[in-house]
Amino acid sequence: MIGEEEVLSSLREIAGRHDPVPPAVLAAARASLAWRDPDAALAELVRDSLDRLIAVRGGTPRVLTFLGGALTIDVQVTARGGGVDVVGELAPVVPAKVVIESPGGSHETAADGEGRFRVEGIAAGPVRLRCEPLVEGAFVPLRTEWVQL
Protein backbone atom coordinates (compact mmCIF):
# COMPACT_ATOMS: atom_id res chain seq x y z
CA MET A 1 0.00 0.00 0.00
CA ILE A 2 1.32 3.46 -0.90
CA GLY A 3 2.63 5.50 2.04
CA GLU A 4 0.98 8.59 3.54
CA GLU A 5 3.72 11.00 2.54
CA GLU A 6 3.90 9.61 -0.96
CA VAL A 7 0.18 9.96 -1.65
CA LEU A 8 0.20 13.47 -0.20
CA SER A 9 3.16 14.42 -2.39
CA SER A 10 1.44 13.00 -5.44
CA LEU A 11 -1.72 14.97 -4.71
CA ARG A 12 0.36 18.11 -4.16
CA GLU A 13 2.06 17.54 -7.48
CA ILE A 14 -1.26 17.13 -9.30
CA ALA A 15 -2.65 20.26 -7.67
CA GLY A 16 0.50 22.13 -8.61
CA ARG A 17 0.13 21.16 -12.25
CA HIS A 18 -3.61 21.44 -12.62
CA ASP A 19 -4.83 23.83 -9.94
CA PRO A 20 -2.09 26.40 -9.37
CA VAL A 21 -2.79 30.00 -8.44
CA PRO A 22 -3.97 31.51 -11.75
CA PRO A 23 -1.57 34.16 -13.09
CA ALA A 24 -4.31 36.81 -13.01
CA VAL A 25 -5.03 36.04 -9.34
CA LEU A 26 -1.34 36.29 -8.46
CA ALA A 27 -1.03 39.55 -10.38
CA ALA A 28 -4.07 41.01 -8.62
CA ALA A 29 -2.65 40.00 -5.25
CA ARG A 30 0.69 41.64 -6.04
CA ALA A 31 -1.10 44.80 -7.20
CA SER A 32 -3.10 45.03 -3.97
CA LEU A 33 -0.49 47.11 -2.16
CA ALA A 34 -1.68 50.05 -4.24
CA TRP A 35 -4.75 50.10 -1.98
CA ARG A 36 -2.61 51.00 1.01
CA ASP A 37 -4.09 54.18 2.48
CA PRO A 38 -2.22 55.23 5.62
CA ASP A 39 -3.56 58.80 5.51
CA ALA A 40 -7.10 57.72 6.20
CA ALA A 41 -8.42 56.16 9.40
CA LEU A 42 -10.20 52.84 9.13
CA ALA A 43 -13.97 52.88 9.57
CA GLU A 44 -14.99 49.44 10.76
CA LEU A 45 -18.02 47.50 9.68
CA VAL A 46 -20.13 47.35 12.81
CA ARG A 47 -23.33 45.99 11.34
CA ASP A 48 -24.22 43.95 8.29
CA SER A 49 -27.73 42.77 7.62
CA LEU A 50 -26.21 39.76 5.85
CA ASP A 51 -25.36 38.35 9.26
CA ARG A 52 -28.88 37.33 10.10
CA LEU A 53 -29.28 33.81 11.42
CA ILE A 54 -32.17 33.23 9.05
CA ALA A 55 -31.51 34.24 5.46
CA VAL A 56 -34.15 36.51 3.99
CA ARG A 57 -34.95 35.58 0.43
CA GLY A 58 -36.05 38.05 -2.17
CA GLY A 59 -34.96 41.55 -3.06
CA THR A 60 -34.45 42.98 0.42
CA PRO A 61 -31.65 45.51 0.31
CA ARG A 62 -28.56 44.80 2.33
CA VAL A 63 -27.73 47.37 4.98
CA LEU A 64 -24.22 48.03 6.24
CA THR A 65 -23.04 50.39 8.95
CA PHE A 66 -19.48 51.64 9.31
CA LEU A 67 -18.07 53.58 12.23
CA GLY A 68 -15.00 55.75 11.98
CA GLY A 69 -14.27 58.03 14.89
CA ALA A 70 -17.40 60.10 15.40
CA LEU A 71 -18.76 59.47 11.92
CA THR A 72 -21.30 56.78 11.08
CA ILE A 73 -21.79 55.73 7.50
CA ASP A 74 -24.97 53.81 6.73
CA VAL A 75 -25.12 52.15 3.35
CA GLN A 76 -28.01 50.42 1.64
CA VAL A 77 -27.08 48.11 -1.20
CA THR A 78 -29.53 46.96 -3.84
CA ALA A 79 -28.66 44.44 -6.51
CA ARG A 80 -29.54 45.53 -10.03
CA GLY A 81 -28.50 43.60 -13.07
CA GLY A 82 -24.93 42.44 -12.67
CA GLY A 83 -24.06 45.23 -10.26
CA VAL A 84 -25.30 47.12 -7.26
CA ASP A 85 -26.75 50.52 -6.42
CA VAL A 86 -25.64 52.20 -3.23
CA VAL A 87 -27.54 54.74 -1.16
CA GLY A 88 -25.68 56.08 1.84
CA GLU A 89 -25.98 58.51 4.71
CA LEU A 90 -23.39 60.16 6.90
CA ALA A 91 -24.17 61.00 10.50
CA PRO A 92 -23.66 63.55 11.80
CA VAL A 93 -24.28 65.54 8.64
CA VAL A 94 -21.03 67.03 7.41
CA PRO A 95 -19.96 68.24 3.97
CA ALA A 96 -17.96 65.37 2.50
CA LYS A 97 -16.59 63.90 -0.66
CA VAL A 98 -17.44 60.22 -0.92
CA VAL A 99 -15.51 57.88 -3.18
CA ILE A 100 -16.65 54.33 -3.75
CA GLU A 101 -13.50 52.40 -4.55
CA SER A 102 -13.09 48.98 -6.09
CA PRO A 103 -10.41 47.21 -8.11
CA GLY A 104 -12.68 47.73 -11.12
CA GLY A 105 -12.85 51.49 -10.77
CA SER A 106 -13.87 54.36 -8.54
CA HIS A 107 -17.03 56.46 -8.35
CA GLU A 108 -16.83 59.88 -6.79
CA THR A 109 -19.77 61.73 -5.31
CA ALA A 110 -20.61 64.05 -2.43
CA ALA A 111 -22.89 63.90 0.55
CA ASP A 112 -25.79 66.35 0.21
CA GLY A 113 -27.21 68.71 2.83
CA GLU A 114 -28.74 65.77 4.67
CA GLY A 115 -25.59 63.73 4.55
CA ARG A 116 -26.95 61.47 1.80
CA PHE A 117 -25.25 60.16 -1.29
CA ARG A 118 -26.09 57.76 -4.06
CA VAL A 119 -24.10 55.84 -6.64
CA GLU A 120 -25.55 53.45 -9.18
CA GLY A 121 -24.09 50.71 -11.30
CA ILE A 122 -21.20 49.58 -9.13
CA ALA A 123 -19.68 46.29 -10.18
CA ALA A 124 -20.18 43.46 -7.69
CA GLY A 125 -17.04 42.51 -5.79
CA PRO A 126 -14.79 44.09 -3.17
CA VAL A 127 -15.77 47.68 -2.40
CA ARG A 128 -14.81 50.30 0.15
CA LEU A 129 -15.85 53.87 0.76
CA ARG A 130 -13.52 56.77 1.27
CA CYS A 131 -14.85 59.92 2.95
CA GLU A 132 -12.96 63.18 2.97
CA PRO A 133 -14.15 66.42 4.54
CA LEU A 134 -14.88 69.25 2.11
CA VAL A 135 -13.84 71.59 4.90
CA GLU A 136 -10.26 70.68 5.74
CA GLY A 137 -9.91 69.38 9.25
CA ALA A 138 -13.63 68.85 9.85
CA PHE A 139 -12.89 65.15 10.37
CA VAL A 140 -10.08 62.70 9.78
CA PRO A 141 -10.40 61.20 6.29
CA LEU A 142 -11.88 57.73 6.51
CA ARG A 143 -11.66 54.54 4.50
CA THR A 144 -14.12 51.79 5.34
CA GLU A 145 -13.21 48.15 5.62
CA TRP A 146 -13.42 46.26 2.36
CA VAL A 147 -16.75 44.53 1.90
CA GLN A 148 -17.93 42.12 -0.76
CA LEU A 149 -20.95 43.58 -2.56
Binding site: E4, R12, V25, A28, A29, R30, L45, G125, P126, E145
Partner: protein
Protein backbone atom coordinates in the same frame (compact mmCIF):
# COMPACT_ATOMS: atom_id res chain seq x y z
CA UNK B 1 -17.56 27.80 14.95
CA UNK B 2 -20.12 30.50 15.30
CA UNK B 3 -19.78 33.11 12.68
CA UNK B 4 -19.77 36.55 14.26
CA UNK B 5 -19.05 39.68 12.35
CA UNK B 6 -19.50 42.35 14.96
CA UNK B 7 -16.24 43.90 13.82
CA UNK B 8 -16.45 42.91 10.23
CA UNK B 9 -14.25 40.29 8.65
CA UNK B 10 -10.90 40.90 10.27
CA UNK B 11 -8.04 38.65 11.14
CA UNK B 12 -7.37 36.95 14.45
CA UNK B 13 -7.90 39.32 17.33
CA UNK B 14 -4.45 38.56 18.68
CA UNK B 15 -2.83 39.59 15.45
CA UNK B 16 -4.45 42.98 14.92
CA UNK B 17 -3.47 45.52 17.52
CA UNK B 18 -6.13 47.80 18.97
CA UNK B 19 -6.01 50.74 19.32
CA UNK B 20 -4.21 51.08 16.04
CA UNK B 21 -0.86 52.82 15.97
CA UNK B 22 1.34 52.83 12.93
CA UNK B 23 4.05 50.24 13.44
CA UNK B 24 2.71 49.33 16.85
CA UNK B 25 4.58 46.52 18.58
CA UNK B 26 6.44 45.35 15.48
CA UNK B 27 8.86 42.59 16.37
CA UNK B 28 12.50 43.66 16.52
CA UNK B 29 14.80 42.02 14.04
CA UNK B 30 18.50 41.87 13.46
CA UNK B 31 18.64 39.95 10.21
CA UNK B 32 18.47 41.49 6.77
CA UNK B 33 15.16 40.92 5.00
CA UNK B 34 15.60 37.70 3.06
CA UNK B 35 12.78 36.74 0.71
CA UNK B 36 13.87 33.11 0.74
CA UNK B 37 13.50 32.76 4.47
CA UNK B 38 10.12 32.04 5.98
CA UNK B 39 11.15 32.76 9.55
CA UNK B 40 9.55 35.18 11.90
CA UNK B 41 12.25 37.78 11.49
CA UNK B 42 11.98 37.74 7.71
CA UNK B 43 8.21 38.13 7.84
CA UNK B 44 8.43 41.00 10.30
CA UNK B 45 10.92 42.83 8.11
CA UNK B 46 8.89 42.23 4.96
CA UNK B 47 5.66 43.35 6.61
CA UNK B 48 7.24 46.50 7.95
CA UNK B 49 8.67 47.31 4.53
CA UNK B 50 5.39 46.59 2.79
CA UNK B 51 3.55 48.78 5.30
CA UNK B 52 5.87 51.59 4.22
CA UNK B 53 4.98 50.96 0.58
CA UNK B 54 7.81 48.63 -0.49
CA UNK B 55 6.32 46.79 -3.49
CA UNK B 56 9.08 44.16 -3.63
CA UNK B 57 8.64 43.24 0.02
CA UNK B 58 4.90 42.94 -0.57
CA UNK B 59 5.43 40.66 -3.57
CA UNK B 60 7.69 38.42 -1.48
CA UNK B 61 4.87 37.97 0.97
CA UNK B 62 2.33 37.33 -1.78
CA UNK B 63 4.57 34.84 -3.56
CA UNK B 64 5.12 32.94 -0.33
CA UNK B 65 1.46 32.62 0.69
CA UNK B 66 -0.62 32.95 -2.50
CA UNK B 67 -0.92 29.20 -2.92
CA UNK B 68 -2.03 28.72 0.68
CA UNK B 69 -4.77 31.33 0.26
CA UNK B 70 -5.81 29.75 -3.06
CA UNK B 71 -5.85 26.28 -1.52
CA UNK B 72 -8.03 27.38 1.37
CA UNK B 73 -10.48 28.99 -1.05
CA UNK B 74 -10.55 25.87 -3.25
CA UNK B 75 -10.99 23.66 -0.19
CA UNK B 76 -14.44 25.22 0.17
CA UNK B 77 -15.39 23.69 -3.18
CA UNK B 78 -15.34 27.11 -4.81
CA UNK B 79 -14.89 27.44 -8.55
CA UNK B 80 -12.06 29.45 -10.10
CA UNK B 81 -14.03 32.70 -10.20
CA UNK B 82 -15.23 32.50 -6.60
CA UNK B 83 -11.81 31.39 -5.38
CA UNK B 84 -10.30 34.37 -7.21
CA UNK B 85 -12.74 36.67 -5.36
CA UNK B 86 -11.83 35.11 -2.02
CA UNK B 87 -8.15 35.45 -2.81
CA UNK B 88 -8.50 39.11 -3.74
CA UNK B 89 -10.59 39.86 -0.67
CA UNK B 90 -7.99 38.18 1.54
CA UNK B 91 -5.07 40.16 0.17
CA UNK B 92 -7.02 43.42 0.34
CA UNK B 93 -7.73 42.61 3.97
CA UNK B 94 -4.02 42.23 4.66
CA UNK B 95 -3.24 45.56 3.01
CA UNK B 96 -6.03 47.10 5.05
CA UNK B 97 -4.33 45.96 8.25
CA UNK B 98 -0.73 45.93 7.05
CA UNK B 99 0.38 48.51 9.60
CA UNK B 100 -1.26 46.66 12.49
CA UNK B 101 0.13 43.16 12.10
CA UNK B 102 1.80 42.29 15.38
CA UNK B 103 2.75 38.65 15.25
CA UNK B 104 4.58 38.27 11.96
CA UNK B 105 5.30 34.61 12.63
CA UNK B 106 1.56 33.93 12.56
CA UNK B 107 1.05 35.63 9.19
CA UNK B 108 0.28 32.33 7.46
CA UNK B 109 -2.41 31.52 10.01
CA UNK B 110 -3.80 35.04 9.75
CA UNK B 111 -4.10 34.69 5.98
CA UNK B 112 -5.64 31.23 6.29
CA UNK B 113 -8.22 32.47 8.80
CA UNK B 114 -9.03 35.46 6.62
CA UNK B 115 -9.41 33.29 3.51
CA UNK B 116 -11.79 31.01 5.44
CA UNK B 117 -13.90 33.97 6.60
CA UNK B 118 -14.01 35.49 3.13
CA UNK B 119 -15.04 32.14 1.64
CA UNK B 120 -17.87 31.86 4.14
CA UNK B 121 -18.90 35.49 3.53
CA UNK B 122 -18.99 34.81 -0.20
CA UNK B 123 -21.11 31.69 0.27
CA UNK B 124 -23.48 33.63 2.51
CA UNK B 125 -23.75 36.43 0.00
CA UNK B 126 -24.71 33.88 -2.60
CA UNK B 127 -27.60 32.86 -0.40
CA UNK B 128 -26.18 29.60 0.76
CA UNK B 129 -26.97 28.83 4.37
CA UNK B 130 -23.79 28.37 6.30
CA UNK B 131 -24.74 26.32 9.33
CA UNK B 132 -23.18 26.88 12.70
CA UNK B 133 -20.41 24.43 13.46
CA UNK B 134 -16.97 23.99 12.01
CA UNK B 135 -16.12 24.75 8.41
CA UNK B 136 -15.41 21.05 8.04
CA UNK B 137 -19.00 20.23 8.89
CA UNK B 138 -20.12 22.73 6.30
CA UNK B 139 -17.99 21.33 3.52
CA UNK B 140 -19.03 17.84 4.57
CA UNK B 141 -22.58 19.03 4.06
CA UNK B 142 -21.64 20.43 0.64
CA UNK B 143 -20.03 17.13 -0.23
CA UNK B 144 -23.30 15.35 0.33
CA UNK B 145 -25.10 17.81 -1.91
CA UNK B 146 -22.55 17.78 -4.69
CA UNK B 147 -21.96 14.07 -4.57
CA UNK B 148 -19.17 12.74 -6.72
CA UNK B 149 -19.57 15.26 -9.54
CA UNK B 150 -16.39 17.19 -10.29
CA UNK B 151 -16.21 20.80 -9.16
CA UNK B 152 -16.21 23.23 -12.08
CA UNK B 153 -12.79 24.15 -13.43
CA UNK B 154 -10.98 21.34 -11.71
CA UNK B 155 -8.54 18.90 -13.21
CA UNK B 156 -10.41 16.81 -15.71
CA UNK B 157 -9.43 13.24 -14.99
CA UNK B 158 -9.11 12.70 -18.72
CA UNK B 159 -6.24 15.16 -19.15
CA UNK B 160 -4.22 14.17 -16.10
CA UNK B 161 -0.72 13.09 -16.84
CA UNK B 162 -1.21 9.37 -16.58
CA UNK B 163 -3.55 6.69 -15.41
CA UNK B 164 -2.13 6.67 -11.90
CA UNK B 165 -2.77 10.38 -11.43
CA UNK B 166 -6.28 10.04 -12.83
CA UNK B 167 -7.15 7.26 -10.41
CA UNK B 168 -5.60 9.13 -7.50
CA UNK B 169 -7.55 12.31 -8.22
CA UNK B 170 -10.79 10.39 -8.72
CA UNK B 171 -10.37 8.61 -5.40
CA UNK B 172 -9.53 11.94 -3.74
CA UNK B 173 -12.77 13.42 -5.07
CA UNK B 174 -14.67 10.41 -3.74
CA UNK B 175 -13.60 11.12 -0.17
CA UNK B 176 -15.91 12.83 2.31
CA UNK B 177 -16.21 16.61 2.15
CA UNK B 178 -14.30 16.88 5.39
CA UNK B 179 -11.40 14.79 4.10
CA UNK B 180 -11.28 16.65 0.80
CA UNK B 181 -11.18 19.97 2.58
CA UNK B 182 -8.39 18.91 4.91
CA UNK B 183 -6.29 17.34 2.18
CA UNK B 184 -6.79 20.25 -0.23
CA UNK B 185 -5.29 22.56 2.39
CA UNK B 186 -2.52 20.09 3.29
CA UNK B 187 -1.35 19.92 -0.31
CA UNK B 188 -0.76 23.68 -0.52
CA UNK B 189 2.70 24.68 -1.65
CA UNK B 190 4.79 25.12 0.39
CA UNK B 191 3.22 22.61 2.82
CA UNK B 192 1.36 24.48 5.55
CA UNK B 193 2.06 24.16 9.24
CA UNK B 194 -0.60 22.53 11.36
CA UNK B 195 -1.22 25.97 12.88
CA UNK B 196 -2.05 27.25 9.42
CA UNK B 197 -4.28 24.25 8.70
CA UNK B 198 -6.03 24.76 12.03
CA UNK B 199 -6.65 28.39 11.11
CA UNK B 200 -7.90 27.48 7.64
CA UNK B 201 -10.39 24.91 8.87
CA UNK B 202 -11.14 26.25 12.33
CA UNK B 203 -10.37 22.88 13.91
CA UNK B 204 -8.13 22.16 16.90
CA UNK B 205 -4.50 21.59 15.96
CA UNK B 206 -4.58 18.29 17.84
CA UNK B 207 -7.32 16.93 15.59
CA UNK B 208 -5.38 17.42 12.37
CA UNK B 209 -2.96 14.52 12.75
CA UNK B 210 -5.65 11.92 13.50
CA UNK B 211 -7.99 13.23 10.77
CA UNK B 212 -5.15 13.30 8.27
CA UNK B 213 -4.27 9.72 9.14
CA UNK B 214 -7.88 8.60 8.82
CA UNK B 215 -8.44 10.35 5.49
CA UNK B 216 -5.17 9.23 3.96
CA UNK B 217 -5.82 5.72 5.24
CA UNK B 218 -9.15 5.61 3.47
CA UNK B 219 -7.59 6.98 0.31
CA UNK B 220 -4.67 4.59 0.39
CA UNK B 221 -6.88 1.54 0.98
CA UNK B 222 -9.13 2.50 -1.92
CA UNK B 223 -6.13 3.00 -4.17
CA UNK B 224 -4.80 -0.41 -3.21
CA UNK B 225 -8.20 -1.97 -3.93
CA UNK B 226 -8.46 -0.24 -7.30
CA UNK B 227 -5.29 -1.83 -8.69
Amino acid sequence: MHHTRGRGVTGCGALVAAPRRLGAAMLPFGAMADPESTGEHANAALLRAAAAGDQQAWESIVDRYANLVWSVARSFQLGQSDAADVSQATWLRLVEHIADVREADKLGSWLATTARREAIALLRKGGRDVPAGSAGDFVGHLGVQIGLDPVEDEPDAGVLRDERDAVLWQEFRALSGQCQQLLRVLIADPPPSYAEVSAALDVPIGSIGPTRKRCLGTLRRRLAASI
